[in-house]
């Protein structure tokens, strides 16, 4: 709507100044000249008194008359003595008047007139003739005849002198006329120039007004445009924010079933797969894990963009965080044959105020990158205080990898930028990691810098500001990886519709030593709450029938103690708005999804349901009422009461691994089993093994009995039960066999199922055999 400014609108102030200056010059210069000229004329009038022309002519005539009169007097009145000196003086006065006329400055006005020439020539001739006579006053006194002759001659001159006076008068008039005409002309010129000046100035005024009007219009347009832009920006920001929120929600929505996919893939891997199938599953799981990483990154970026990302700062022991990350990275580093070293400076305060998850994320990202891009050598991290900066902490991650050139370093923190495009397929990653890390570092009052040269490795330096703090009273409970048995056995009601999550939470709560009752949705949870007493309710945010928030509202509306129950909302939603809304409807605490033992434990502690534990975990737990005591509710607790089992240290893990026999590796998933061993007291473990293997009640034996009886539905039921328990324990062999039997029985091939009885027996015997390998280091 707005075109380029044209013509005057393009003029700069200096153009305007030049134009106005030129106009003033053009009009004022002639005016100044005219004024100056007039001044000069007046000056010359002052000095060259023009009127003296008339005066001089008149005086000449007058003196001629007086001389004539005196001469006549001396002749006609001899008794009145006229002295020679008097005559001479009069003659001289007369003579003195001639040069006054001939040498007058403006004699040019009259010089060319005949009267002038005649008079001057006449007087000059007269003077030449009588000068000798008047030179002798005495002789003149005696010669009366000469005096009479002189008088006569003088009288004859008077006519031309009178004409001269008249001519002088006319000349003066002419001069005055001429001067008047000149003045009139000049006045006209001045008026004309003033008019021109007025016109020019009016023209400029008009241009200026037009220009100003146009500028005002332009300013208006700009203001309007700016308003429109502001509105557009607001709309765009709102849309962007909306998108970020949508992205956060979507990532969450995708993530939840994704956990299921991952879990199922894990389970699938445990089943009897051929080498090729195992390879496929491995690939699928790697891809799924990668995808989950991508989703997490997108979620982080979108929450950062929507401005809802908040750091949850709490006392953190950096050493433990570093060890966590080191432990996670060790396998990857070892796989590539790299040395991995994480060193924490002794001068670093043990406890600092920080968001442990986010610090871990930065460290994980940088170390992960280091491992990814290094093929040979080492990756190391150094965490140390910065003495010059208060609360300053420096994390230096360096590698001996391929390094980067300057251009790459320059673009490194750009979104979606990856150091080497050809590496993208091989190495993967979203390209968001460094951006996220840097944003996080900045939120923590620091930044990330990078120094790198091609072929010489890279060094990333993170500076953070993490104020030192006192170790919290319940320090021990806040750290450590292995889930610990709860000091108190809680009755937990879990509303979770997703079967995989349900399964996962089941195991988790068992591990933690709590009693769990499950229901599928909020409606069921409300019904259970009305009839039974619980310590805490875990609600999933997204549930059919009645979602987490609606359920919380309904719970708070319940009468009596049921309405006061602690509610923990399990959600992957990190958008702070959601949490704020949840708090408003009465949610006590939050636990992130997928649920972590630590996370849940801290949520419970914050609810005041758990006390801080000693690190030795000597279990003074009250066995309490188990879920089995509740009629009508399926007992799901597999774990026993608190017992003296310490979590395995990594070194113990390492000690366990070589003990596996080749057979054991196929039959038993050592990692799952060791986990189970770690989280269960020995007697519970034995009891659990008993439910499988001990005759006659053990599931294996029950199934054998069913197989012998050829009871199809019973076979299917017990095979399913056996499969579930075996899966939990990590008994791969039994899982495989039980699965086959279940499938055959379900499909009605009871005979075929019966054929597997021997294999089942054999597998269970060999499994028990394999388990002996694990027992020695565990025994106290």
């Amino acid at each position: 709507m707005n075109s380029e400014p044209t013509g005057l609108a393009r003029w700069q102030p200096r153009h305007w100044a030049a134009a106005v200056g030129a106009a003033l010059m053009v009009t004022l210069t002639p005016l100044t000249y005219i004024q100056w000229d007039q001044l000069q004329t007046m000056k010359s009038l002052k000095t060259n008194q023009v009127d003296s022309l008339l005066w001089a002519a008149y005086q000449l005539e007058r003196e001629a008359s007086r001389l004539t009169y005196l001469l006549h007097d001396s002749v006609s009145h001899p008794y009145q003595k006229v002295t020679g000196d008097e005559l001479v003086e009069r003659y001289e006065v007369f003579a003195s008047r001639l040069p006054l006329l001939t040498r007058i400055p403006r004699r040019d006005l009259i010089e060319n007139e005949a009267a002038y020439t005649a008079a001057v020539q006449g007087v000059t001739a007269f003077l030449e003739k009588y000068d000798p006579v008047f030179a002798d006053p005495q002789a003149l006194e005696q010669a009366a005849g000469t005096r009479a002759a002189i008088a006569d001659e003088l009288e004859s001159l008077e006519k031309s002198l009178a004409e001269l006076t008249r001519e002088a008068n006319r000349a003066t008039s002419r001069f005055l006329d001429e001067r008047n005409a000149q003045l009139q002309e000049q006045s006209l010129l001045v008026v004309g120039l003033a008019a021109v000046q007025t016109v020019v100035l009016l023209g400029f005024l008009w241009l200026l007004v037009t220009h100003l009007r146009r500028q005002l219009a332009q300013t208006d347009r700009l203001r309007k445009l700016s308003r429109e832009l502001e509105t557009a920006r607001d709309v765009a920001e709102a849309a962007n924010h909306g998108k970020s929120v949508f992205l956060a929600n979507m990532s969450h929505e995708i993530r939840t079933p994704f956990q299921g996919v991952l879990g199922m893939l894990n389970l699938l891997e445990e089943t009897g797969l051929s080498g090729q199938q195992r390879d496929y599953v491995q690939t699928a799981r790697d891809s799924a894990q990668h995808l989950l990483g991508v989703l997490n990154d997108i979620l982080d970026v979108s929450t950062m963009e929507s401005g809802t990302l908040r750091l949850s700062v709490a006392p953190v022991e950096l050493r433990h965080v570093a060890q966590d990350v080191e432990g996670l990275m060790r396998a990857a580093a070892r796989e590539k044959g790299l040395d991995l070293a994480v060193h924490v400076d002794r001068a670093l305060p043990s406890w600092v105020m920080a968001d442990a998850t986010r610090v871990r994320q930065i460290l994980f990202n940088l170390l992960g990158n280091g491992v990814k891009f290094t093929n040979k050598g080492r990756v190391q991290a150094l965490i140390e205080p910065i003495p010059s900066v208060p609360d300053g902490v420096r994390i230096t991650v360096s590698d001996t990898g391929m390094g980067m050139d300057e251009a790459t370093v320059g673009q490194l923190f750009t979104r979606f930028y990856q150091a080497d495009n050809s590496l993208r397929r091989r190495i993967g990653g979203t390209g968001l990691g460094l951006e996220i890390s840097r944003n996080l570092a900045r939120m923590m009052g620091g930044d990330i810098e990078v120094r790198s040269a091609l072929g010489e490795g890279s060094t990333f330096t993170v500076t953070l500001r993490l104020p030192a703090t006192e170790a919290p009273a319940n320090a021990a409970t806040l750290t450590g990886d292995a889930p610990k048995r709860a000091a108190r056995r809680l009755k937990v009601l879990v509303a979770e519709d997703h079967p995989i999550n349900l399964k996962y939470m089941n195991i988790l709560l068992e591990q933690m030593g709590h009693d769990a009752v499950f229901c599928e949705n909020g409606q069921e949870a409300l019904q259970l709450l009305e009839t039974h007493l619980f310590d805490v309710v875990l609600l999933d945010y997204h549930m059919p029938v009645l979602d987490g928030l609606a359920t919380t509202q309904a719970i708070r509306a319940l009468p009596g103690p049921a309405g006061q129950i602690k509610v923990i909302l399990v959600t992957a939603d990190v958008v702070n708005d959601t949490r704020k809304r949840a708090r408003e409807v009465g949610v006590d605490e939050f636990a992130s999804k997928p649920l972590q033992a630590d996370d849940l434990k801290q949520a419970l502690m914050r609810c005041g349901l758990l006390q801080g534990e000693d690190s030795t975990d000597t279990g003074h737990a009250d066995p309490g009422i188990t879920a089995t005591d509740l009629p009508g509710v399926a007992p799901v607790s597999l774990g026993g009461a608190g017992a003296d089992v310490e979590p395995l240290t990594p070194s113990q893990w390492d000690a366990l691994v070589p003990a596996r026999t080749a057979d054991a590796g196929i039959l038993v998933d050592s990692e799952s089993y060791v986990e189970i061993l770690a989280m269960m007291p020995a007697d519970t473990h034995q009891e659990l093994l008993g439910t499988l293997f001990d005759p006659p009640e053990g599931t294996v034996h029950a199934l054998m009995k069913d197989l012998a009886a050829g009871d199809g539905p019973r076979i299917a039921y017990n095979a399913h039960k056996l499969k579930g328990t075996a899966m939990l324990m990590g008994f791969r062999g039994i899982v495989r066999t039980a699965q086959q039997i279940e499938k055959l029985a379900t499909d009605g091939h009871v005979r075929d199922a019966q054929a597997l009885a021997d294999e089942l027996m054999d597998t269970s015997l060999r499994t028990r055999e394999a388990l002996r390998d694990f027992e020695t280091p565990v025994a106290p």
Partner: protein
């Protein structure tokens, strides 16, 4: 024809008229031809109640010279002569106005103040030569026109009287 009383009265009257003369100093009489007559309110006389002066007397007064441009000559001209103030002082003039008269009876009134304010000269030499009557002589009252722009006006050009013959102090 005169009664004693009238004679006595006459004497008294004469005494009264002569009384101021008794105060007036008798100045030396001129030796040469008289060229300037000063009359009116003066304290020094040498011819009746007038003071007459010849060229020698004027020449005896302190002489001053300056060169100035004038409307009457194309070139700057040097004038030499006594200051008008000195001439008036010589006659012990006490009036406020000097009526100057030329040989051709041209007369102009010059405020006595002019003689005090400006270095007004009664010039007797022009370019170091005596001035004949034919050339504005013998005496020419000249203002130092070049010394001030205020003097270059018709008022002062008018007061510059030439062919001066008499000064009447009023």
């Amino acid at each position: 024809m005169f009664t004693p009383l009238s004679r006595r009265l006459l004497i008294a009257l004469m005494g009264a008229t002569l009384l101021p003369l008794a105060h007036a100093q008798t100045a030396p009489a001129p030796q040469g031809r008289v060229i300037l007559t000063i009359s009116g309110k003066i304290g020094a006389t040498n011819q009746g109640n007038k003071m007459v002066m010849d060229m020698a007397m004027l020449e005896a007064l302190p002489q001053h010279s300056f060169t100035t441009r004038t409307p009457w000559y194309d070139k700057p001209v040097k004038f030499t002569g006594p200051l008008l103030a000195d001439v008036l002082a010589a006659a012990k003039a006490s009036g406020t106005t000097v009526s100057a008269v030329a040989i051709n009876d041209y007369a102009i009134k010059i405020p006595a103040d002019d003689a005090r304010k400006f270095k007004v000269v009664v010039a007797r030499l022009m370019d170091d030569k005596p001035m004949p009557v034919r050339d504005k002589g013998p005496l020419f009252v000249v203002y130092p026109f070049d010394s001030s722009a205020d003097l270059r006006t018709s008022t002062y050009y008018e007061r510059s009287i030439w062919q001066l013959k008499a000064l009447d102090i009023q």
